[in-house]
């Protein structure tokens, strides 16, 4: 009854009960398909059985579609520095040039500066389709700055999609405005639905002019998050849920969170590894709370995938990130530089470029299907992970020594599935191999059977092979998924002929921090 009253208070749909809203929310969210029990929506490579209206909304959104992230770029503007809750994985005090993670930015912008920056970036990067406000505090703890930014951008660059990311505490108060401003993507960070678990994550919240601590704080936060989620999905606004996986705190509980958000209409769940390096000065960093390993994260994502599709390509970007996911061009667009730039916002040229990208995506999808057809007769139980060196465009087009990250695909007789990415330090800088050698890269790729690259030097190739990882150049500049399938077919053939022996691989490291190119 409490919730029904709240819905009404915040202008919920007239005359509808909470059950009505829930039912509608469930319809706009994921529905399970019979046989596999797998949800019918998410971030998979293609439309799948997503309703066309939802696919239309996500297909060019790099954060919502795993396939789109190869081709389309996003930017965040740091207009929202204030926050209304304290999280044990966040430290608001430090803004150091050598660190990069959500909640940290180099410079804060006014809405006017932000709108100018959006125009400058969109004029330079035609693939830029999405503007997000993600902090560095909470966008809805800064509603004036956030909505003013959206208003200015919508007036000058109407083709750019708007989205925001929130902790959800004040979300129910802003749903009407979010709908009115045509924001069609919202991300809510939900780390628990059990307030007892919340006490280990949130020391306090600031709500109704009070600082509230303990289980009451987490209870209020959780109620407001779930109410906000229901209100958004009832209005047809797409909602992704982010969760931070904290081993020993909420790792097992996230399966419950997954069920709770799916039943309320969230269409995508993004479980991210905890970032907790001691030098960040967060509570978790200082208490030695560890983050998950690559295989722990994958196992949890796989466990939740029976309920709904999982986002696996998140780079945990900074609140001022610019460019494709996995690259950071924010340094090119500092306020000084943006103010000096000649901004020519050419909508027609942007659309023409994006149409070309669409054509390329169709070619890639057809190539994958053709390769997949060759796997039809394979019945092997073997599954392997394959790492890819890419700089975007859906192709294997990066030199091993120049890779800041490797994208990881799981190959099986069902095809190629994207399962994540691994950040690494550059192996090769200025033509010389890094002083730390190849060891950290070997640890990051330890669970992979092969790495497909555009090119690789003899030394790192030997090191990889010494660690049981095959370095393959023969798919250079080819499409990723097609190549992964082709490599897998070749691998099975070699296993069949006893040329090689299939062995299970171990676990791998996740490098701390959000992506940045320094």
């Amino acid at each position: 009854m409490q919730k029904l009253l709240q819905l009404h208070d915040f202008g919920g749909p007239g005359g509808k009960t909470l059950d009505d809203v829930r039912r509608e929310a469930a319809q706009t969210g994921c529905s399970s398909t019979g046989g596999s029990g797998k949800a019918s929506c998410g971030s998979g490579a293609g439309q799948g059985d997503l309703p066309p209206e939802i696919w239309d909304k996500v297909k060019n959104h790099p954060c919502y579609s795993e396939q789109a992230h190869h081709h389309f770029a996003r930017m965040h503007v740091a207009v929202a520095p204030a926050c209304n809750i304290q999280c044990n994985y966040c430290n608001r005090k430090y803004d150091c040039a050598n660190e990069s993670r959500p909640g940290v930015v180099s410079e804060k912008l006014t809405p006017e500066q932000a709108a100018r920056k959006v125009l400058a970036v969109a004029s330079t990067i035609p693939q830029m389709t999405v503007l997000g406000v993600a902090g560095p505090g909470d966008p809805l703890a800064n509603p004036g700055k956030t909505f003013k930014t959206f208003e200015l951008v919508a007036a000058t660059a109407p083709d750019i999609k708007l989205c925001l990311s929130t902790n959800g505490l004040t979300l129910p108060d802003h749903v009407e405005q979010i709908a009115a401003m045509n924001v069609d993507h919202v991300t809510i960070t939900i780390n628990m639905v059990d307030p007892e678990i919340g006490t280990k994550i949130y020391p306090w919240i600031f709500y109704n002019h009070r600082r509230i601590e303990g289980v009451e704080a987490s209870r209020i936060l959780s109620e407001r998050q779930l109410l906000g989620l229901e209100m958004l999905t009832a209005r047809g606004i797409l909602v992704k849920v982010n969760s931070v996986m904290i081993p020993g705190v909420n790792d097992k509980h996230l399966v419950e969170v997954n069920k709770a958000v799916k039943s309320r209409g969230a269409f995508l769940h993004n479980i991210m590894p905890l970032i907790s390096a001691p030098e960040h000065g967060t509570v978790f960093g200082l208490t030695g709370q560890r983050g998950p390993s690559a295989q722990e994260l994958k196992a949890l994502q796989d466990a939740c995938e029976g309920e709904m599709n999982m986002m696996r390509h998140c780079r945990q970007c900074r609140a001022d990130a610019v460019g494709l996911l996995g690259e950071d061009r924010s340094a090119e667009f500092s306020t000084d530089k943006v103010m000096e730039m000649d901004v020519n916002y050419d909508l027609a040229a942007r659309q023409a470029y994006q149409a070309k990208v669409e054509q390329e995506r169709e070619v890639i999808a057809k190539a994958k299907q053709a390769e997949l057809a060759k796997l039809v007769d394979e019945t092997s139980d073997i599954k392997i992970l394959v790492a890819i060196a890419t700089k975007g465009g859906g192709r294997i087009n990066e030199h091993f020594g120049h890779a800041h990250e490797f994208q990881i695909y799981e190959a099986s007789s069902a095809g190629a599935k994207f399962v994540g990415h691994r950040r690494v330090d550059l192996y090769c800088e200025g033509g010389y191999a890094s002083a730390d050698g190849v060891e950290p890269i070997l640890r990051a790729l330890n669970d992979c059977t092969a790495v497909l690259v555009a090119k690789i030097g003899i030394c790192p190739k030997d090191s990889l092979e010494g660690a049981g990882i095959e370095a393959v150049e023969s798919y250079a500049f080819e499409f990723i998924e097609q190549s992964v399938i082709a490599y897998f077919k070749d691998y099975l053939a070699r296993v069949g002929k006893s040329e090689i022996r299939h062995v299970a691989r171990g676990d791998a490291d996740i490098r701390q921090g959000a992506f940045t190119e320094t």
Partner: protein, 74 residues
């Protein structure tokens, strides 16, 4: 007395600014400051000073003993 903001601690997140019932908080030189003439320590408004409650960095909004105690209007 009034509250003051320890500049070396302030992250300029601006969370305190809109919460102050007296509009006593403003940005100056990259951090936020409190005008002691306007600060009422939130007496008569709230149970606890809002800047203290919302500030994410502990011991940043503190009592300024160098100014006379706020006199609530009779």
């Amino acid at each position: 007395m009034a509250y003051k903001i320890v500049a070396s601690q302030c992250t300029a997140c601006s969370a305190c600014e809109p919460e102050c019932p007296n509009v006593a908080i403003y940005e100056k030189g990259g951090t936020f400051v409190i005008n002691p003439k306007k600060c009422t320590e939130c007496l008569g408004h709230f149970d606890i000073p809002q800047c203290v409650a919302v500030c994410p960095v502990d011991n940043t909004c503190v009592i300024d003993n160098s100014v006379p105690r706020y006199q609530a209007p009779a």
